[in-house]
Structures are given as structure tokens and as C-alpha cells.
């Protein structure tokens, strides 16, 4: 099998494609590096010069204004030039292949691609293509591929948990919701297990769980009350609109009844448990407003930390090429 394409031959981060198989010291280094970046936003000038003169291309084959914006802010705070391309509606529909698009942008002296794509594995294809064509000075950051991975989201969640809870090896963490379709859940689960979380729970109806999820190191709960009992961290997932009707779930109302996070269900977790959500939230579907706006929610800090974590990732990738 091919070498893990996100590490270079020295075992250092070459691309960020997934949290799976990312060594613990690399994850820890990303989180450590993000801490000083978090302070940058507090300054008069919210910018550091690390990526001055570098071009970061936001390659969004699937629209997501929010994710694109956070990457854009992170890159700009590193002084990079940021070029946003929403390709969901442009060239690939005109018959240009993904790799043609990449070749074209590489020819414009790109230094980094931030890639969002509806197909699992698309950023790997790009990274492998860049390597095969001798352009390994260009780095790829996966900003979400299909159901596979959303590593910066997973890492910012780890940053958030560490910020409030410090020691991963003492935690009970529940991931709740549509795990089947969630790249966020996969990135969280891999990072949590690498960081040594001893009690990792997946809470969802059977229709929203992938086969063999236990093999990823989770205990499965179909009863949310059981799943939340005594946990330190509740990680809620977004339920996409299109899943709410049809054969996966009967209705948003019934989903909320069994798997929506309410104050009453949250009361079963530890009193100081924190609640995370990757946003955007569906209030009244996966989370009750009272919880979303309550004292245990750390959803807005997640957003702030997300910028710092993305700055850390880009800064770690962008240097040392000369």
C-alpha cells in the first residue's frame, strides 16, 4: 500500500488530509502551535507575516461559505494572498476535470490548496497528482471531502476540548447524531482515539451509523440518555435537511424527540460537561435552543479557536520549502 500521503519522508506534515493515522505528537504540535495564534486576533494588527507573498487557493468544489470564510480569515491573518474559487458552479461542469483545474492553478504559482469536495478522497487525488508531477512544494489542506474527513474541524474540536478539559486520557466523550454521513464525526473519532480518550461513544439510530463503527473504537448507544450518562464532552453533529425525510428518519420532530440534545438529556452528563457543535446548527432538530445558548455550550469559542487551528496548520505546512 502507498505511503501515508500526508506525511513526507521525514514523517512531517506535507498535507493535512485526515486525522486518521496522524501521530499523536503531530496533533499535539498543531494544538500547541495554535495557542499563540489565538492571541494574534487580540492585537491591534491581527496579522503575522509568515505567509507573506504566498498564494492560498480556496478550491471549493462544494459550496460552504462558512468554512471557506474561516480558511480565508486564517490565511489572511498569516498575510497570504487568498484566491477563492467556487468551482461547484464553474469549470468542472464545463467538462474540465478536477486534475486539469489543479494543473491550471498550479501553473499560477499556487503554494497551497484548501480543498472542499463532495467526493470522499478528492484531496488525496490532488495530493497524489501533485507528488506524481513533481510539485510537492504545493500543500493540500482538506476542508472536507464527502463523508470522509474534515480534519481542521476535528482538530479545532480537540483544541476546544483541551482548552476546557486539559487531559484527554480521563475523558468520556459522546459523539451524537448522523455519524454515517459525517466527515466531522470521523475526524473527531480518529483524533479522540489517538489522543487517548478511554471512553468514546457513538450515539445514533441504526440508520445513521456506518457498518463496523465499533472497529473505529466507539461504543454504540441507541438510547441517548444512556449514551450521555456521565460524559465530559457532548459532540453534536449537524443533521442535513435532506436526511430528515425519507427512509433514514421519519421526521425532524421524531429525531429531536429521541436524539435532540435538551437540557433534560444534558443533565445526565457530568455537571461540567461541555457541548460542541460544528455548525450551522438546526435548532429544534439536533439541539434545543436552551442548550445551544446555555452555559455549557462552547460553540462560539469553537469558531474562534477554529481560526487559530487553521492558522497553525497553514503555518506548519507553508514554511521550510526553500
Amino acid at each position: 500500500m502507498a505511503r501515508n500521503p500526508q506525511l513526507n519522508k521525514h514523517g512531517e506534515l506535507q498535507h493535512l488530509l485526515t486525522t486518521e493515522g496522524l501521530p499523536r505528537d503531530v496533533i499535539t504540535r498543531i494544538l500547541d502551535t495554535a495557542e499563540p495564534f489565538a492571541d494574534v486576533a487580540e492585537r491591534e494588527v491581527k496579522k503575522v507575516p509568515l505567509l507573506r507573498g504566498k498564494s492560498v487557493f480556496n478550491l471549493f468544489f462544494e459550496n460552504s461559505t462558512r468554512t471557506r470564510t474561516t480558511f480565508e480569515i486564517a490565511a489572511k491573518r498569516l498575510s497570504a494572498d487568498v484566491i477563492n474559487l467556487n468551482i461547484a458552479t464553474s469549470s468542472t461542469n464545463k467538462g474540465e476535470t478536477l486534475l486539469d483545474t489543479v494543473d491550471n492553478l498550479a501553473a499560477m504559482q499556487a503554494d497551497m490548496f484548501v480543498v472542499r469536495h463532495a467526493s470522499s478522497g478528492a484531496p488525496y487525488l490532488i495530493a497524489q497528482h501533485l507528488e506524481a508531477t513533481g510539485r510537492d512544494h504545493i500543500h493540500v489542506v482538506n476542508a472536507g471531502d464527502g463523508r470522509h474527513a474534515h480534519p481542521t474541524q476535528g482538530l479545532l474540536d480537540m483544541y476546544t476540548i483541551r482548552h476546557y478539559k486539559r487531559d484527554f486520557t480521563q475523558l468520556s466523550v459522546a459523539v451524537v447524531g448522523d455519524i454515517l454521513h459525517s466527515r466531522v464525526a470521523r475526524s473527531q473519532i480518529h483524533a479522540l482515539s489517538t489522543l487517548g480518550v478511554p471512553d468514546l461513544r457513538a450515539v445514533a439510530p441504526k440508520t445513521l451509523l456506518p457498518q463496523d463503527i465499533e472497529r473505529l473504537g466507539c461504543r454504540v448507544f441507541h438510547d441517548m440518555r444512556e449514551g450521555l450518562r456521565g460524559v465530559d464532552v457532548v459532540m453534536m453533529l449537524r443533521l442535513q435537511n435532506e436526511r430528515m425525510q425519507g427512509s433514514l428518519l421519519p421526521s425532524a420532530q421524531e429525531y429531536f424527540k429521541f436524539f435532540g440534545l435538551t437540557e433534560e438529556k444534558l443533565a445526565l452528563a457530568k455537571p461540567d460537561a461541555i457541548v460542541l457543535h460544528p455548525g450551522p446548527m438546526n435548532r429544534g432538530v439536533e439541539i434545543d435552543s436552551a442548550v445551544a445558548d446555555g452555559r455549557q455550550a462552547v460553540i462560539l469559542p469553537q469558531v474562534t479557536f477554529g481560526i487559530a487551528v487553521r492558522m497553525a496548520v497553514m503555518a506548519m505546512l507553508g514554511g521550510g520549502n526553500a
Partner: protein, 428 residues
């Protein structure tokens, strides 16, 4: 043209031969084994010392991409690939463009193949018009045009009434129906075996249930209609067990497995290798072990290459968007030999699966070197390495996970109807 194949080790499973035996060929037929007939003067002597001489290989499923998909492959390129792989007869599924659902198309294909004078081509006619699973094709006319069975290729028939009637109609005339068992709805959107790997990679899974449910349905319909059924490319252990049970119950049913499914499993997808996207999907390791064993003990009747040339543009895309399929004609022999070696099987048994057993499944008088039979012959060196690369593959499809690998089993010459149609380039 009289040919004397001299000094080779003849392995002919149909005649239970595995011994150093000379083969004498005249007028396209085998005229003697062992000693030359009286007055035989060879125009050509092929020195097969140290090599193995077998009946030309028979491939149950090879896509030639004609008509309609010539950008993927042409009859010329794929027939050259066939004989370079030692394959002298092949059955092709009807999923061309247009679909092989009209006698004229079948006649044209047969005619083009005859003109090339390489391997024998045995088309499968479409079971339903356009493979749409709605209307029956003119199976009688298609048979007269040269179809030897009827198939839906990889297209399912959703409407059970249609499938029931198609099998009834085929049974009326004794035609065999070939079906690849996959439940349309359970497999919808799926691109990989549903299991840990698909869960990790975030790929939509195709559950084993999609195969077992379809096999159960097909077996029941075959029993009810009396139709002769061949199940193409079984992928799972659970599917095999259903077939075993049906046979215990006295049903006549045959099945095959694709050669890549004997060697690869879902783990080989690695980091989204689109070359490992196949129909049906590469399944779990224990499924692969079950397939290997079942082929060895004959519960799976035969092997096929499931040759599917795909152009680079359709593979250089994210896994789920990649066109499924692998190129296989030139890998069939080396991968069969690898399976035999790894399973410690006698060569005679292993080679039966791609010669005499395959002929039996297709109902052909081929796959043997009996005196009086067609002189379709493959001569190979079982220990010589072949490098699988873009440059060495003759098929227009360079799509295989084995690209860049070296396998053992090099074809040195192929004869079709007594004509040498392929000789390996001299080695340095």
C-alpha cells in the same frame, strides 16, 4: 500449415493429462499427441521445452468496448490483448453502446472479430432491450446471430415480473441466463464493500446483503421457471453459501468469480485507489478466502478476467466518481498461477478453471486439446516474470491495481485454430 509443438509439458485438464507430450497440428486441428502421425512433416516446429502447453484459455467475461466505446478500447486492441494473455475464446457481455440487443449488432461484432482472426468471440445477448429491464429481446433471433447466452451485464432487473418472464421465455428454448447478483436498491449509490474500510474512508457501502438478496431472488425464479442460471462474479462468502444450499436442494446452477476478487479485498483500496473500484466491490478478506477455497474445490465453476478497459480520464477522478472495472485479459493467466501457487493446487486443477470448466459453463466444445478438436493452444513459461505496465499491456485499458508490479507466468505463444496468432517478443 502443420505445426509440431515439441518438448513441452502438456497440461490438458479435460483429458487428465499432465506430462511431457508433443502436440501435432494440421489444418487447424490437433491431429496427434505424443508421437507424430505417419507422414507428418511439420512446416514449423515450436520448441516448448521448459514451457507448459495448455488449451487456449477461455474467458467468461471480457469487455471489448465495441460497438460504441472505441475511445476506451477497440476490437483490435483487446483481441491483441487476449491472445497476448493466452486467451483464445472469450464471452463478452452485452453492455456496449448500443447494447447488444439486436441481431444486426451481434452479426457485425462476430464479423469484425472473424476478420481480425484472433480469438473466438462469443457474445452474450441482452436479456432485455437496452438492458433496461423492461422488454424482452428477440432471444431466438439473437441466438441465430451468434449469441450463446443472455445477460444483463451489470444492470439489474428491478421488476421481478419482467425477470420472471424473461427467465420463463429463455427456459422455453433452453437458453442460459447470466446474471450478476446485486440488489439495485441496496447497492444504490454504493461504491465499496460495506464494512470497516468504507466506514473509515467515508465511502457509500454496498452491503453483502445486496448480493445475497439478489441471489436468493434469482435462485427462486430459476427454480420456478426451470431456467438455466449462471451467477456471474460472486463476491461474498454468504452468497456462496446460498448457492451451496441450492445445489444441495438439487438445483443446477453455475457461477464464476473474477480473478481480481481472488487476490484483492477492500483493504487494497488504501488511500482511495480508483483502480480498486470494481463491480461487485472488492469485499472483506474473509470473503476473499472463501472465494479462493470455493474455486479450488469446484463450488465456483470457473474464473473470468472481468476485463473492463477504462480510459485514464474516467479513472483520474475521486474514487466514487471513477468508472469501475479493471483490465484483465493479460492478467488472467499470471493471477491464476499465483492463486494456484498460494493455495498449493496442482496446475491441472487450476488451469481447468480457465479452460475445460469455462468451456462447460459456456456450453462450448473448446478448452481441450483432444485429437480432432480445434488447435487453440497457449504456451507459457510459468516461472518467467511479466511486468505489468502501461508500456507492456496491449489492452487499451491500463487500469489495474497491478500496474508497476511483476507477476509470474509469461505467455510465449498462442495459437488459434492452428495459426500462431501471438509470439512473445524475444527476451534479452
Amino acid at each position: 500449415m502443420k505445426i509440431h509443438i515439441k518438448g513441452g509439458r502438456l497440461i490438458d485438464p479435460a483429458q487428465d493429462i499432465d506430462a511431457q507430450t508433443d502436440v501435432f497440428i494440421a489444418a487447424g486441428k490437433v491431429v496427434a499427441l505424443g508421437a507424430a502421425p505417419d507422414g507428418f512433416h511439420a512446416n514449423r516446429v515450436i520448441d516448448a521445452a521448459g514451457h507448459i502447453v495448455v488449451p487456449g484459455l477461455i474467458d467468461l467475461c471480457a469487455r471489448l468496448r465495441e460497438p460504441g466505446l472505441e475511445y476506451r478500447a477497440t476490437l483490435e486492441s483487446e483481441m491483441a490483448a487476449a491472445v497476448a494473455g493466452g486467451v483464445t475464446s472469450l464471452a463478452c457481455p452485452p453492455d456496449t453502446d448500443p447494447v447488444l440487443d439486436e441481431p444486426g449488432l451481434v452479426e457485425m461484432l462476430k464479423h469484425r472479430a472473424r476478420m481480425l482472426n484472433l480469438a473466438h468471440v462469443y457474445p452474450h445477448g441482452a436479456l432485455t432491450v437496452g438492458l433496461k429491464g423492461e422488454r424482452l429481446t428477440e432471444m431466438g433471433e439473437l441466438t441465430d446471430a451468434g449469441c450463446i447466452a443472455f445477460s444483463q451485464a451489470n444492470e439489474p432487473v428491478d421488476d421481478t415480473q419482467v425477470l420472471f418472464r424473461a427467465m420463463q421465455y429463455a427456459a422455453t428454448f433452453g437458453y442460459t441466463v447470466w446474471l450478476q447478483p446485486t440488489d439495485l436498491h441496496l447497492a444504490a449509490g454504493g461504491v465499496a464493500h460495506e464494512g470497516e474500510i468504507a466506514a473509515r474512508l467515508g465511502l457509500t457501502g454496498i452491503p453483502v446483503l445486496a448480493e445475497t438478496l439478489a441471489i436468493g431472488r434469482m435462485l427462486q425464479l430459476a427454480r420456478a421457471t426451470g431456467c438455466r442460471l449462471h451467477l456471474a462474479r460472486i463476491s461474498s462468502r454468504a452468497g456462496l453459501m446460498l448457492i451451496d444450499q441450492a445445489r444441495l436442494d438439487g438445483m443446477q446452477v453455475s457461477c464464476d468469480v473474477a480473478i481480481h476478487a481472488l487476490h484483492l479485498c477492500d483493504v487494497d483500496i488504501g488511500y482511495f485507489d480508483p483502480q480498486c473500484r470494481t463491480v461487485p466491490p472488492l469485499r472483506a478478506q474473509f470473503d476473499r478466502e472463501a472465494l479462493r477455497a470455493a474455486l479450488a474445490d469446484g463450488r465456483i465453476d470457473a474464473l473470468c478476467s472481468d476485463h473492463t478497459p477504462v480510459d485514464d480520464d474516467a479513472k483520474q477522478v475521486p474514487f466514487a466518481e471513477a468508472e469501475p472495472g479493471t483490465t484483465g485479459l493479460e492478467l488472467l493467466l499470471p493471477l491464476t498461477l499465483a492463486w494456484a501457487r498460494e493455495m498449493h493446487l496442482p496446475l491441472k486443477l487450476a488451469l481447468a478453471r480457465i479452460t475445460s470448466d469455462a468451456a462447460r459453463v459456456l456450453g462450448l466444445n473448446a478448452g481441450h486439446l483432444k485429437v480432432g478438436g480445434a488447435a487453440d493452444v497457449c504456451i507459457f513459461d510459468a516461472d518467467a516474470p511479466v511486468r505489468i505496465s502501461r508500456e507492456t499491456l496491449r489492452s487499451q485499458g491500463k487500469n489495474t491495481p497491478y500496474l508497476g508490479r511483476e507477476l509470474l507466468g509469461r505467455v510465449s505463444a498462442t495459437l488459434v485454430s492452428g495459426q500462431v496468432v501471438y509470439e512473445a517478443p524475444a527476451r534479452h
